[in-house]
Symmetry: C2
Subunit: 341 residues, 2 copies
């Protein structure tokens, strides 16, 4: 049964990537726009195309605040965010289009810097920006600069990602340390009397995805980049879609000391903190070791790890501590960090 969307107005939490975002999508957007492709709610839509087979297509808007931060900027995010949504759908990113919503009065130097950042990220990812659009709104009607990118990708033959294909015993692989992006943005806002030597992990994950596909192809059940809402939101979505419980071993989670420290001080669960250069893969047990080895051999994959597994049980995310106790971690509730991407 479809629940009705009961909020009378839109709140920041509806952009969090957590439960409120999911309600907005499932209870308001899907009932209007539903079709067999959209309702899959995957990172990219796989669209039948001519005699060609399939095109992966995706779009994201970026409203991060502040515009620049250690390790990246809104332009870097806009390119890599869409590249990564294609990558974790098992599609080679082919091209991007990009739109700018500019606030009148925006210094040209700010826009120039973001165009340079986009050009650099586009070159680094090997994905050209082939078109776009620019709109300008009055001063006070936007917040400097919003960027939207859409992208097309070529689905890789032999890869068939579907949470429903998961089986008990499948392994959960994470590409590297979590929480870097979210904590970096929080610190960049300057509202906290705290400094840490930390930078956003914003980058293309395609080289790592390409490696795991080469190693494990049809043995990969599902992939996702845990951005807004963090690892916990992504794995709760997987649990819900697959019907399985996901169990993580807390001591196996790669987390930098600075991120762990900041989370403790701020009372944040690192499992809810956003990432922009990591991805999760659920892989059949027989292929997990070679998938991990392939990822570790890539430039940014050295810290990749098997962090848990898929188990029979009510769909949820269970985290087991080093002491053997366990806790259930839900999707992000509320708006932990608005405008994180």
């Amino acid at each position: 049964m479809v629940e009705e969307f009961r909020s009378k107005q839109i709140e920041l939490a509806h952009g969090s990537g957590g439960t409120a975002s999911r309600r907005l999508v499932e209870e308001l957007i899907l009932p209007h726009l539903r079709n067999p492709i959209l309702e899959r709610l995957t990172d990219s839509a796989l669209v039948p195309f001519g005699d060609a087979g399939t095109v992966a297509v995706t779009a994201d808007s970026f409203v991060v605040s502040p515009l620049r931060f250690a390790g990246g900027s809104i332009g870097t995010l806009a390119v890599n965010g869409t590249v990564n949504d294609l990558a974790v759908s098992g599609a080679r990113p082919i091209a991007l289009v990009c739109t700018l919503i500019l606030e009148a009065g925006l210094p040209t130097a700010t826009l120039d810097a973001e165009l340079a950042a986009m050009a650099k990220a586009s070159q680094a990812a090997g994905v050209p920006i082939v078109g776009g659009d620019t709109k300008v709104v009055e001063h006070g009607k936007a917040d400097g600069l919003y960027i939207t990118t859409a992208g097309i990708g070529l689905p890789i033959a032999g890869v068939k990602l579907d949470a429903r294909s998961a089986k008990a015993g499948d392994k959960v692989i994470l590409s590297g340390p979590i929480g870097d992006h979210g904590i970096t943005i929080l610190l960049a806002r300057g509202e906290l009397d705290m400094e840490a030597d930390i930078a956003s992990d914003c980058r293309s994950v395609w080289p790592m995805v390409e490696a795991i596909i080469a190693a494990a192809a049809s043995q990969i059940r599902w992939m996702r980049d845990p951005t807004r809402g963090g690892l916990a939101s992504a794995l709760n979505e997987f649990a819900r879609a697959s019907g399985f419980c996901v169990t993580l071993q807390e001591e196996l989670l790669p987390v930098r000391d600075q991120v762990r420290g900041a989370c403790e001080l701020l009372g944040l669960d690192v499992l809810h903190v956003a990432n922009e250069g990591q991805f999760l893969a659920i892989v059949a047990p027989g292929a997990a070791a070679r998938a991990l080895e392939a990822m570790r051999a890539t430039e940014h994959g050295a810290a990749a790890a098997i962090i848990g597994e898929v188990q029979e049980g009510a769909p949820c995310l269970e985290v087991v501590t080093a002491h053997g106790s366990s806790r259930v971690v839900d999707m992000l509730v509320g708006d932990q960090l608005p405008r994180i991407c």
Copy 2:
């Protein structure tokens, strides 16, 4: 030689679709992001794709104010604007993705109405919305609701659009009356003590484009939907790209009386007023009559007309009056009507 972008900040005129927009693109955006596809500056990018041939891809952001107006709304525009950019590139629109930037505090009823408008436009155009994204920014950091749509299209075999293929003697075909959208928005703002029985022409032009392609295919040199900046900006771009002069016969231009009257009162040149459901085609002379006949047979094409022709001469748009005098009409300068789409 590349001119340098000399504005120190972004102004509303940079979103007008006229000369300032063109400067922003040519002098700031292209130098950063240039590649062989982007620099064509066509409505959609034609991207080589796998063994499949080519995918047409495009994106537009919509910031129209007010959100709703006679004949449409931001949701209607967002769907049809992208469908039309694909259509006038000679590509059958296949699917859209859509992102929403919402201001916290936006009434759910407003969003609900726009989702309904998008669903209706998507069904009318026969193009599903297959994916997307939602972001929320703080109250005061946006203006209710911005929508970005991107789309993919299947290029129709035998159609090869390139302004540089134009020849002297080619005919200029316009699909129907101009200025309806721009004047509707202006009236909807309620700043003028004027009423008129006029509605936006916002709709998919694909049925008309499909008809002209079936009739004239390889004889079509160029197409464009004259949105922001109007007919004059679109034809000046064609003139510049083709190296030819375009001559229009003013008395052949379909313009509704209400639009003509409003333009006279307001001192606007209807050639600069935005359209959302019309397109221009440059067609070889031998195919023009059957192209026109095919367009007129479609539901919204009854007023289609041959309005002028391509001539040798310095690249410009020349408009000849019924009395035989003529004037050169440039691209739109300044920001005649900010946030028209």
